[in-house]
């Protein structure tokens, strides 16, 4: 195996062997979906067709939440690993910094997508509309959003000097990115400041395309080019920032 593959292999092996991470990233969003979905169900009115119930509306958001959790769990370890753990050895090795960034971002994205897909399997059991072709394209889009979230989370994890500092980033940046994407409530289609802000969020574009593909929920602005392209651009921006920051620290 080359260096990138072996680091990827490590991340996946770690995930498989840590059962608590499966629960964190799968059961939590599921529970969240059921509790919030049932609780808010009666108060919700679908701004689109008017026919989609809240459990169905919220389902793609819950899938995205599991991707977000995986992005957080797989990058938070960087902080201690870098100063007191395994990554010390990677940082003094002859490998370039980009190998480290790729291994972390790809692993987070693969694992996030895998868990998203496990949740999406419910689509075929639940009485929601789920066209097969759309679901397959949706998986690709989920991978892209997963790359994006992991790259953002990785950059901030690398920049954090402590785990508690990263919790701040999680609460102030990553969770709002998820909430403001139209996952919990519709954000687009109004003139509010919230709706304008949401346009800068790559997840807003990704999630609305995802909703249209997997569930046929045409809400707000749906633009597949932006849905696939914008999260990819944000991935590259944060990948580059992370790579630069690591290179500045270790000289290559």
């Amino acid at each position: 195996m080359n260096a990138l593959n072996s680091l990827l292999y490590r991340e996946i092996l770690r995930f498989v062997r840590q059962r608590s991470r499966w629960i964190g990233a799968l059961a939590t969003p599921l529970l969240f979906w059921l509790l919030v979905g049932t609780g808010l169900g009666s108060a919700f009115q679908d701004p689109g067709s008017g026919r989609v119930g809240y459990l169905e509306f919220f389902f793609p958001g819950a899938v995205l939440l599991s991707v977000l959790f995986t992005a957080i769990f797989s990058t938070i370890s960087v902080i201690e690993d870098r100063d007191k753990g395994f990554l010390q050895g990677v940082l003094v090795s002859p490998q370039s910094s980009s190998v480290l960034v790729w291994s972390k971002v790809l692993a987070g994205a693969i694992l996030g997508t895998l868990q998203g897909v496990l949740l999406m399997a419910l689509l075929f059991v639940l009485p929601f509309k789920a066209p097969l072709m759309g679901v397959l394209l949706g998986v690709v889009l989920l991978f892209i959003m997963s790359l994006c979230l992991t790259a953002v989370a990785f950059f901030f994890a690398w920049k954090s000097s402590s785990v508690s500092g990263f919790h701040g980033v999680m609460n102030m940046i990553l969770m709002p990115m998820w909430i403001m994407s139209g996952s919990v409530f519709p954000v687009l289609g109004s003139d509010s400041i919230l709706a304008k802000l949401a346009l800068f969020n790559p997840l807003t574009w990704g999630l609305s395309s995802f909703k249209m593909l997997v569930g046929g929920q045409p809400i707000g602005i749906v633009d597949l080019a932006m849905g696939f392209g914008y999260p990819l651009i944000v991935t590259l921006v944060f990948w580059t920032l992370a790579n630069r920051s690591i290179s500045a620290r270790r000289g290559a």
């Binding site: 260096a3 072996s6 680091l7 490590r10 753990g85 010390q88 990677v90 003094v92 000289g251």
Partner: protein, 317 residues
């Protein structure tokens, strides 16, 4: 060729008011075990980080194995030839011994049958063959350190850097650990730089660099450093005299009876006398204190004495 050559090396941590490292000149030869000796905060860990390419934005010139580590970069060439054992464990505890080694091999461009063969070799050297499939988190401190060493030796580095390598190793296993290090120098053509604050470990090095407050204090073989010190050390304990001021006043009266050039200090309830030919003063001390003398110890100087004389500080502080 010099193993290490430094000129006007200084480094200051972000936000610090004082340089953590300030070395005018230092050169180390290859083929030896060099000890970096100093208390916490002496700069030895910072120097270790510079040499292992963990810190790159230093000032000055550093050459490792003939490669110039330029400030801000230029360390790629040298990384492939360095093996590093960190003070904190760098093993992935969820992975087995052999899984850790495979990833390490991949980072250094080893793969396939050549990698597996080399893994077997290092497991053999460090007597870890029967532990190869155990997760490293389940290993004892001493075993885990051996895996760390095996990991850093995997790619046949020319220079092995070890930061406090026996941290977490039982005292009775430390000697065995050092035998392994000595074997590496003799059989694997590797040079070692070991940072430590333990005297008995420093004694096992071929050459020692003593550091204090970021600067070089002295350098030489353990014997050389001790013979340069010149004095013997005599320690006495006197009945009912244990606090510092009492000891100092007894010391003052004693100094007039000692040969010129002798030094008397109070230390941990003892009086400590540095004097040439220490054995010759012992009968005088015995008759001076008579039955009040609780203990009388004579010794050739240790590295601890050298350190104390050079810096006024104890290594353990």
């Amino acid at each position: 060729m010099d193993l290490i050559k430094l000129e006007n090396l200084s480094y200051m941590y972000a936000g610090a008011t004082r340089a953590a490292l300030n070395l005018e000149k230092l050169s180390l030869q290859s083929g030896l075990i060099h000890g970096l000796l100093g208390p916490n905060g002496s700069g030895k860990s910072t120097l270790f980080k510079v040499l292992s390419t963990q810190i790159v934005n230093f000032k000055g010139r550093v050459s490792v194995l003939g490669h110039d580590l330029m400030s801000g970069g230029g360390s790629e060439d040298v990384r492939a030839q360095l093996g590093v054992t960190f003070q904190n464990p760098s093993l992935d505890g969820i992975l087995s011994v052999v899984e850790n080694l495979r990833i390490q091999g991949a980072l250094y461009g080893l793969r396939g049958a050549a990698l597996e063969k080399r893994i077997d070799e290092v497991l053999e050297i460090f007597e870890l063959m029967d532990r190869r499939h155990e997760r490293t988190a389940t290993l004892s401190g001493g075993l885990a350190r051996r895996v760390e060493l095996a990991k850093s030796m995997l790619h046949r580095p020319r220079l092995l850097l070890l930061d406090e390598p026996t941290t977490g190793v039982d005292p009775h296993l430390r000697l065995r650990f050092w035998q392994v290090l000595r074997n590496l120098v003799e059989h694997e053509q590797v040079s070692l730089i070991v940072s430590t604050h333990l005297m008995d470990e420093a004694e096992l090095c071929d050459s020692i660099v003593i550091m204090n407050e970021g600067s070089l204090v002295d350098q030489g073989t353990p014997d050389m450093l001790k013979s340069r010190f010149g004095h013997d050390v005599v320690e006495i304990k006197i009945d009912e005299v244990s606090d510092r001021s009492e000891l100092e006043s007894v010391g003052k009266s004693l100094i007039t009876l000692l040969p010129s050039g002798a030094r008397v200090t109070a230390k941990d309830g003892h009086l400590r006398i540095e004097v040439t030919r220490g054995l010759t003063i012992m009968p005088m001390i015995e008759s001076h204190f008579g039955s009040k003398l609780l203990s009388l110890r004579w010794g050739k100087p240790t590295l601890e004495d050298v350190f104390l004389a050079k810096t006024g500080k104890s290594l353990q502080s």
